[in-house]
Structures are given as C-alpha cells and as structure tokens.
Symmetry: D2
Subunit: 390 residues, 4 copies
C-alpha cells in the first residue's frame, strides 16, 4: 500500500522479517531462514556480528558522533589506521582513502570523475556483464539492459568490451582491447580508465584470470590509462583475501569498496586512490552522509577482529574447497540441469541449464528455509553469498 | 596521511571530534563547540537525540535486522505507518514511498529516471543556484560551477532557468518559463519534469514565493510536466512544517527526502511518488543499502516523537521569529557588512557584503566555539542550520 | 512515387518548375511566377544572373576543374582575392577562409568544433528562435522544436538564451547573460562561443540591435568567449552591406557564410576565422565537396560585379525604404490582420495576427503568381526574400 | 595567406591547378598529371566528362533552374526516372529518394535520424575503420581518432564493433555482434541501425565478404534493426555494379549515395529509403542546397550514358582484373615493402609494410606526374581511385 512497485526481493520472499544473527534470519512469525544472500554481499561477517555489535552499542551509548560529514573523528581515524595496518601495509599499497556518499554507485561515480579529471580524457572502458551501479555515471558502465533501459537518457562516455573468456577460451579478449588501442581508426576513444571486477557478482560469477588481469594492467600502464578495480562485491574477504586481487600482484590506481566494508551492513563506501593521482580539490565530490561514523566503528572492529591474523582467510579457503567438492561430487550428479560452477572463494555460482531451473531452485530453497538468489544476464546462475563466518 | 585531498570541513575545523549531544559537540581534548552546521541539515533533532538513541540501542540489542535490502521488515513497516499517519494523511497526499540508495543524490537520480520514463521526454528543468547532488544525473541539475567542473564530462539533459527573483523583483521569471514553453522555436525541449527547492540551502538561502510555486505547479499541469520538489534540505521540519510546502497548497508529483529523514544522522533517502505515476518495474532502480533499518528505526521514532503533535512546529516558528528579530534589531546595526537575511523557518541566511566577510565571521565564530558554515554561489551567506530542538 | 515524404515546398507549390531568370520562374506549362523566396536567400542576385552565367559557361567550356577537393585552383584563388579586396580590406578584417562541405550546417559544425578546440570548453550559447542547421552539432543550436524533435537523440552542448527583446523592450536580455556568467552557481557552463544571427531569417525576422550586439561582443571579450556571427541568411548583401554587421563595428571571431555566397545558387559554404584562432590541423574537418569550383567561379564573379562599387548597397537601401513605406502606408491600412513589420534591408517580415492569416496570404499570392514563404515559430510571418537585383 | 590551416591536399600537391579532362589534370604552368585520386571517388566518369558537360552547358544556357530547394523540377524528375529505370528496377528495390544537403555527411545524418525515429531506439552500430563523415552525428560513427579528436565534445550514440576479419580470418566477428545482442547484460544497447561500408574507402580498402554481410542482414531482420549501407564511396559503379552490393542479394533498408552520384563532381547526396520506413514528416530534415539541379542534370546524363547497358560494368571488371594481375605479377616482386592488395573492382588498396613507404610512393609518384593518395588508419595503404572510364 505504501511502498513503490520498484521493490523486488520482498516479492520473492514475501515475509515480514525481524531479527537476524549470523547466517540466520527470522520473520515476524518466528520462522527461521538460512540467509545465503546476506545483504547481497554486504554481510560477510553475518548479521549482527557480536564483536561488531558490541563496539557499536558501546559507541552509541557514549554519544559518539553519528554523522560527522567529513570532519576528522576518532572513529574515522581508528578505521583508517586499521585499514592501513591490515590491508595497505601487507600489500605495499600507497593509497589514500576518499570517503564518498555511502553507496557503491557513489564510489564509482567518484572514481570515474577523478579518472577523467586526472587524464583529461572522457571515455571509460567497462566489460560485458559488469555491474557498477545505477546512478547515471555508473549506469553507463553497467551492462544489464534492464537497468540501462530505466535510464531515460542514452548512456554515454563508456565503451563495453568483452570480459575474459567472453568469446570462448581460445580467444584472448585482452588482445582485442590492445588492437583497438593500437589501431588509430578503431573507433575506440583512448579511455581515461578501465573499470573491472575480478569476479562479476551480478554478471553471473564470471572470473577474470590472473594472466588476463596482468595483461590489462600492462596495457593500462603502456597507454597511461588508469586501472580501477571495482571490489565492491568481491572485496572485503569474499574471495579469500581482503582485496580480491592480493594474490595477483596488481596495483590498481583506484579501488572501490562498499557493501561489507562496514561489516555490519551499515552504508559505507570508500575509494582507494594511489597517492600520486589524488588530484581532488576540497569538496569537489561531496555528500552529506560520507561521514557515517557508526559504520566506521564497525568497519574498524571488523578489520581488527578478522584481518589481524590469517585465520579468516584460511577458513574461507577451507569452506570454498568444501563447496567446490560438494558441487563436483554431489550436485552435478544429481541433475543434468546443473551445468557448471563458477567463481572464486565464497563467491560462487551454480550455472543452471535454464533460467527456469534456477528460479525453481531458488523458490524451493525458500520453501525449505534457505534464502538464495540468482544472478547472470538471465538470472540463470544460483549465487552463493553466505556469510564468510558461517 | 591517509585521507584524500577531497576532504573539506576538516580543513576549516581542524580538530579531532569525538562525542556530541543535541547542539553540542566535543573534540578529543574535551573542548566544546556549538554546532550550527548540524550535519548540513541532517541533524534536525540534534546529535544523539535521546529518544531516538534509546530506540536504536534497543533495536540493535535485540538483533533487529540492520541491512534488509528491500525486504519487508518490521522496522520499515513502522516507519511507513508513521509517515502515512503524521505526514501523508494530514496533508491529503496519496503517495507511495521508494527507498533508494541512502543518499540525497540517489533519490534525485531515481526521481529523474522515473520522470523521464513516465513522460517519455528527456529534459529536466532546474533553477539557478539549485543544488541536487553530485552523481552524474543529479549533477546536471546542480548549478554550482565548482561541482560541475569536476564532472569530467559535459553535463546534459537539464535546462537551468532563473529562480524566483533571480532577475529582480519586477520580473516574474515563471512567465519566462511559460513563454519558452509556448514558443515552439525557443530551443527549450519540453521537459519531463521541473525540480525545485522551496528554499535553496546550498544556493544561498534564496526562497521561492508561494505565488511563484503555485504558478509553477499550474504550468506543470498544463504542459503535463512532473513537478519534483527536492525537500532534502528544506524538508523534515526545517522550515516549520514537515514538508516545506505544506502551507502552499502544492501537490508535487514527486518529493525527495533525505538528510534529516532518519533523524539521527544515519544515511537514508526516500522518494515520495504520486501513486498514479509509480510506473517502476521491480528493481529497475536498486542499490544494496536501500534497506538501512537502523535509519528506519530512528526515522519512525522521530516521527512519533516530534510530529504527532504541533508542538515542534510551533517551537520552530517561535525560534525563527526570535532569530529574525535578533538579526533585524541587533545584527544589522552592528555592521554594514551584514546586508540582509534570507530563508524561512530555521533555514536562515545572513547575507554578507563580501565572501571575505562571511569567511571571517565563520572563522571567528569557530575560535569562539561556534561551528557555522557558509553557502551561496561565492560562499557569501552565513547559514544557520542549528538543530530545531536547540 | 519516387521521392520521400520529407519534401515540403513541392507540396505548397505543386508545379513542375523548369526555367528561371532573375526574379521570374516558369513551370513546365509556361506559367510564370514571381519568386520572393529565391532559394531561401540563396539567390540574392536572381536566378541565372547573366554576369555569373557567362563566367560559369566560359569556365565549364574550357574544362576548368569542377571538383578540386581542397587543392589550390585558379578559381579558388580568384574568389579569395575578390573576397579579400571587396570584403575583408574595406572592413579591416584579418580573416582566413575555411572551405567546408558546401552547406550552411557544415559551416556551423566546423565553427563549433573550432571554438571548442580553441577554448577547451564545450558549451555553446545560442538564442531563442535561432536557426543554424539540422545536422546534429548545428541542430543543438537551432531553436525549432519540429526540427529538434527529429534528432532522435537528446541534443546537448548548447544553452539557449533569450534573443534581443525576447522578454519585451524593458528587459535587456544581454544583462541576463552577463548575470549568468558572473554567478558561479547559475548552472551556465561558461561557453566556448556564442552563435548569433543579426537578423533571424527562419525565426521570424527578429533583429538584434547594434547596442545589444556590441554588449554581446564586450561580454565575449571579457570572458574569453568566441563570437560567431551566423551570416548564412543575413549575409551576402541581404541587409544592405555584404556582411550584415558592417555598420555595427563588430569584429566577430568567426563568421559563417553560405546560401548566396556563390551567387548562382550553387552549393558553397565558408567559415571566416580570425587569423589568431586558426588552430586547425590539416584535414581535421574535411569533406569531398569543399572544393566546388563552379561555385568559386560564380562567387568571384558576383563579388567583382556587385561589390566593387557601392551601387548595389545603395540600391538595396532604396528598395528597403520603398518596402517599408509601402507596408506602413498601404499594407497596414488594408487589414488588421497585418500587425507589424520586422527585419532589416531586404530581409523583411510581415507579422500576421495568426498563422492562418499568413498561410492564407501565401496561398492566395501563389494563386496570383507570387511565391512568398512564411517563417517564425508558428509560420506566422510573411518573409520577403526577393532577389536584391529585382 | 587567405586560407585556413585546415587545408590538406594542397600541401601534398603544392600546385595551382586549372583544367582537367578525364583522368588528366593540368596546373597553371601547363604541367600535366594523371589523377588517380579523382575527387576522392567523386569523379568516377572522369573530369569534365564530355557527355555530362554537354548536358550541363545546354541546361545552363537555356536558363534551367540552378537551385530549386525541394521544388519539383524537370531536372529532378529526369534524374529520378533514370535512377528508377537503371538502378531500382533491375535490382527489384522499392525505394524512395530523399534529397539531403549535398554532402555525404548530411546523407548519413539524415539516415541516422530516420533510423532512430522509426525504431524509437538511439544506438547505432558502426564498424572499426569505418568513415561516415565529420558533422557531429556522422562523426560519432567514424572510427578515425584524428577526426574524432576534433569534435570538441564526447561522441555518443554509436557503438563501434569489429569489421569483417578484424580479429583474423578464424574469428567471425558477426558472431560476436550476435552474442552481444543475445546477452541481456552485454552493455550493448540494441541499436536502431547498423551502418556499414561494403568496402572501406578511408579505412584502408578492407572488404566485407558476402557471407558476413548476409549474416548481418539476417541479424538485422531478426532484431528489427535497420541496415544502412553507406555506398558513398563504394557506390556509383566503383566496385563494378552501380550499387556495391548488387551481387550479394542484400536489401538494405537505407542506402546513402554521394560523391559520384552527380557524375561531374557537383555536390549532391541522396538517401534511398525502403518505402515502408519513409516516416519523415515534411521538412523534418531540410537544407537549402538539397535541390542542386545542375547536379541532377549531370546525374541523369551519367545514368543514361553509362548504366543503360552493361558495358561500363564489364569494362570495370576487365580493368580490375588487369590491376590485380599487374599487382600480383609485377608489383609484389618489385619490393618486399608491398605486402598485399585489398578491395574490389576499381577500389583498390596496395598495402605497404609501413606508412613511410606509402608516403614515399605517393611522393615519388607525384614527382613523376601521378596523383595517388593513401588511406587506412595510419595512411599505410596506397589507394587506387582512378576514373572508371580511364
């Protein structure tokens, strides 16, 4: 009666939900569900994680600042220090942090603006099946026709190129990019930046190989193009390491993080910038909620709790191996409708023979108390995004 | 060391802030400041408002869902009911609510998309000195050259027209809009929508008269153009009523709310849509954090606490009168550098003879323990945005 | 049967035309018409002007090059020398000539590109009721909604501002432009260039005053904006002098000429550039037919025949005075449906009380052997464009 | 002194040219050159072709209308009848003709507008190394970075895809297009139209195979996309038949013709539209010079003279075979710097090992009295465009 037709998950899961802990969620009738959607990747440490909850309640209780705009606060400082200590230093990354409006799409908008400003070029290269948000700047880089169709304006400033393996295993799509750059008559305007997900969460759990990503980085260097890794869904531990590309020896110029960065499902987004390209002037990109200090508190708590030691990383690897094995040994035998698995770490997709099969699996799962969603161009892939701490 | 150059307020107020209650804020040395900036209008009920704080802690403690995507939750239901009861019903508004990503700019992006979709047109009319956000869709409607310059792409799809009194009191700028629409060769593409602030917070506290706004509404009806009131800064009680246009007999097709809608400074944005234009298809505009349930809890608490009775409204009017009187009787005598006051309710601007004067006032205020900011095209207006509950 | 529905004049004048001399034109039945449309201003010296005809036949007969791309030819040299001698030198204009594809819209496209390249800005200011062509770059600056509606894409990169007297005689619209430039939050992106017609041929014969144009030139200088005078319809003698602004002491940075520049109705367009902004690199803007040497031959002949002495100029003034007098003394008495006359020189408009009246006048005229067209936003103005040599 | 820096051919061939007949051209010192550039393909019947010349002089002498706007004239009628008789009927094409401003780029602008209007979509697919003109609408579909760079605005509304064989012989690039269309998340907005050259004149004489073009036509039908064949350079007999695709069993929805359509090098352009999509309203796309009757006269004469019988076609095939043989047997033996030949009919390219070689060949040729130009992304291909009647 009071909510717009734009709502979607509430149609597939028509319950009134109430409480949640870890991977469990309860509706107002006390019915319990396992949550393998987990805030679409924004609840890597589970619902109401006890360590984070404690920090947050303590902070609120002592009247810690809730909204700080971009003022310096103790909460922000502590987050930045933890990020530096447990993420930047071990990976030898000389980054500064931009706090944007607390949504992934806002982080992407900021990244694109800066890339265009720094290079003086306007084009951005994105990839097939990529998803980077739905505000106008980010939407231009999002492949999904359904979302693009809602723009109401032609989307410009972005060229979509084939992702790794898009044209089959025998064709290196990165060579195609290189050819377009070398050919002065290809129609490709040399881009300011390339934006890429190492694993495509919404696009169907496609993964880019280390080789392909390294070639991309090499091309970017050669042509003076900025490399933006959109780690909004694949980051924050989802693939086994905090940043999804830690084992690939990549040094992207810009990294966007959101979703699980606060750890508690609180809105927060940051853009990591190589110090040398931080050419922002004060407040050029701004927004009221870029100082959501509650999120900073839980974000710092999450870093301190889970990324001080390699424990969680090992745990994710172990669970990922289990999942792979289970799919290989059990699931594929079970039905010919299940074709393949995709993804990395605990960011997994089970490819179904048809969208209808995937829909049916998701529906039956829900009837049996499991919330699990689909992704891919036609929603043909079952997506595992359970809390890492499950 | 670790934060981008884009930070701004932290330059003007170089302290490490820590705690805050009501209109007071303390730094890490225990120094106390009065906060007349108040989260840029996002803290209308003050920092850590005790009523809201209690609800929030209680909710977190009982493991209430923090992030619910767009699932139905008890927290969301209670917010919607309160909004309906204390805002829609008394004003006879038949609206549905769209929850967007929790930033004002995201609400504007959604509003523009829907307006373009519903009308099949692409142009949006905005006004001189308007501010509607900095993501690419919203930025096109934002007048500020500094922000526009950071876009990195030409901004399109929006026509900027003169706001009320922009050409002096003797010229009705709304007649100009009408002339452009009637003239089939004016170069104005008939717009999908007009977006307007009844009081321009960032633009220098300019106000639109009831007459001008009513003429705008009439023109919109005649030409089948949607009227969007951006109440992100002027809404939530700032001008004396919950919606800034309640006393003007306006029925905008779309209203955007953010900033103080959660009441606690937590990120939240909503778009109010006339039921008849709610042509969204499921998830056409989406975003992970559109279900920030902590914000729903405090938003419902704020509505229940402050908008059940006319008490706060009367209080705002009383304080606004005091402020006006004080400016008129005391402040203008004090210096010729203070030229005029502008605004409505507790959304007030003190116009200075020069940007330098305004800067100096703001600086000296801070040295004396008062945080107060500037706005306007050249930051020449001192902006009063103190908590309404001060 | 064989021609597209896009044809238009052939509907209003459903005859098969054959021969024409001066202001007279005959159909295939030998019926004779007076032609006050004259190629929409492209036949200022009349159809098949005998001086020009002689030169052309002589040139073709001796196998003079017809199409020369942008090679240097004797025909081009002779045109350039005549233009320099009879137009540039007397007006102290230090211009170079760019030969574009031989249409007005192509000249405008080239002018806009160069202005954007030279200034590094993207916006162009045009004026209400302006007409500058229908290819995508030029169309963005054309006010007419009918033509704009056929673009199939939103038109960007141009801001339309009110022409002289658009808001009535008491309001100086040039002050509005200045205010928008000074106001850093007006939403006007400082333009690369302003494009203006001194008399608006398609827009309804509105004229800009010398004062307004001079203020425009001053503003352009102050803000480092290029001034483009589109003299495609008003140039080549139509207003009494070869360039329409010769008596106004203007030195536009760029002038576009087409229509009557060849004198014989042959396709030709040129862009005059202040030497200091000629920052084109070779062939950056090109096109096969930029070397239409037949047109160069007749263009040189026209300059030599008509602009060596002030004779034609005086003749135009005399005829213009006659026309004015005749309208004032005879025409307005005749009917209340005739409201006013507009324009300069022999570029005159007779404003009718309604589009229907104008249509009826044009129709009855044709039945009586006179071809005369309408212009203006609603085709409410009868347009006199008879050959100057009539 | 008087011409803009934008001039280009006059730099490579620094002579003052005067007369020309057939494939021969003379400068003002009487020096004679063979012209294998031939107006960049606009002089397929040679300079001052005697049959056409006679018609033209006769027409001018009898005061035939030079400029007719879009009025019906005898000259236009005779052209349309000849086109119908010798081109449409033999190929069973049910087309109507749109006369646009007389430049190729204008024809492309019209084609794109109509395609967008008819389909209600905005995107156009073009191909790598394609060239379609330099006005803003057409430029967006032109691959060349040098020309694109001069736009001064980001170019939008077009997606560039790989041409036939762009990724080597083993990859069918048309399959890639199909995959992008089928994939709802590919980022490709379903286009209004595809624009393609069957032989890429400016792009380096690349040819599309019949198979590839037929697959393109099939895809267009399936997805309700309009097929535009840009036959501006390859049409008018250049490849052996009047339309370049006559032997391929293609029925494009739209064909653009220019360059040699008038036969005499006079500016003229037409758009052929399948009757069923002729949804233009009167004058929606217009332009002063769309009625260049001199061009209609020579165009009709050319059709009558050369396309009434198969003689010229056979002649072109014979000469093309000679050229191929000569390249194969003589030229490639001569130097390793000559790599391959490309093209069809008398639209041939000789691929050089480096741009420097091609430049040197062209330079030495000129010193020896032969004007021959280069094309390709880096001007590495020597382009044979001699008159077909040589």
């Amino acid at each position: 009666m009071l909510e717009s037709n734009v709502r979607s998950y509430s149609r597939a899961y028509p319950r009134v939900f109430d409480r949640a802990i870890g991977a469990e969620i309860w509706d107002n009738n006390g019915a319990r569900y396992l949550d393998f959607l987990a805030g679409c990747g924004a609840l890597n440490y589970g619902h109401n994680n006890p360590f984070l909850k404690e920090s947050l309640i303590e902070y609120i209780s002592r009247n810690g600042i809730a909204l700080g705009l971009d003022l310096t606060t103790i909460a922000k400082d502590q987050f930045l220090e933890a990020l530096n200590e447990y993420v930047f230093k071990p990976n030898q990354l000389d980054y500064v942090v931009q706090f944007t409006g607390p949504t992934g799409t806002n982080a992407i908008e900021a990244a694109f603006k800066l890339a265009r400003k720094v290079t003086g070029r306007t084009n951005i290269v994105s990839f097939t099946n990529g998803f980077h948000g739905v505000s106008m700047g980010a939407l231009a880089a999002t492949g999904n026709a359904y979302h693009r169709g809602a723009a109401g304006l032609p989307l410009g400033g972005v060229t979509s190129l084939p992702y790794d393996n898009y044209l089959g295993r025998s064709i290196n799509t990165m060579d195609y990019f290189q050819q377009l750059l070398e050919d002065k008559s290809s129609g490709l305007d040399t881009p300011a930046a390339v934006v890429v997900e190492t694993v495509q969460g919404e696009g169907g759990l496609n993964t880019a190989s280390a080789t392909w990503l390294k070639q991309l980085q090499m091309i970017c260097k050669k042509w003076d193009i900025l490399l933006i890794i959109d780690d909004i869904q694949a980051g924050c531990g989802r693939t086994g390491t905090f940043l999804s590309f830690e084992k690939y020896n990549l040094k992207p110029d810009i990294v966007t993080l959101s979703k699980s960065i606060s750890g508690y499902g609180l809105p927060m987004s940051i853009v990591l910038l190589n110090r040398s390209i931080d050419q922002w002037k004060p407040a050029e990109h701004n927004g009221t909620f870029r100082g959501n200090n509650h999120a900073f508190v839980t974000a710092a708590a999450a870093l301190n709790q889970y990324w001080r030691t390699p424990e969680l990383s090992l745990e994710i690897d172990r669970k990922a191996a289990l999942l792979t094995q289970w799919c290989d040994q059990k699931l594929f035998q079970y039905s010919e409708q299940l074709i393949a698995q995709r993804g990395r770490g605990l960011m997994r997709g089970l490819v179904c023979a048809s969208p209808a099969t995937a829909a049916r699996i998701s529906k039956i799962a829900f009837e049996n108390g499991l919330i699990i969603e689909r992704s891919g161009a036609e929603d043909e892939v079952i997506k595992f995004l359970m809390p890492l701490t499950i």
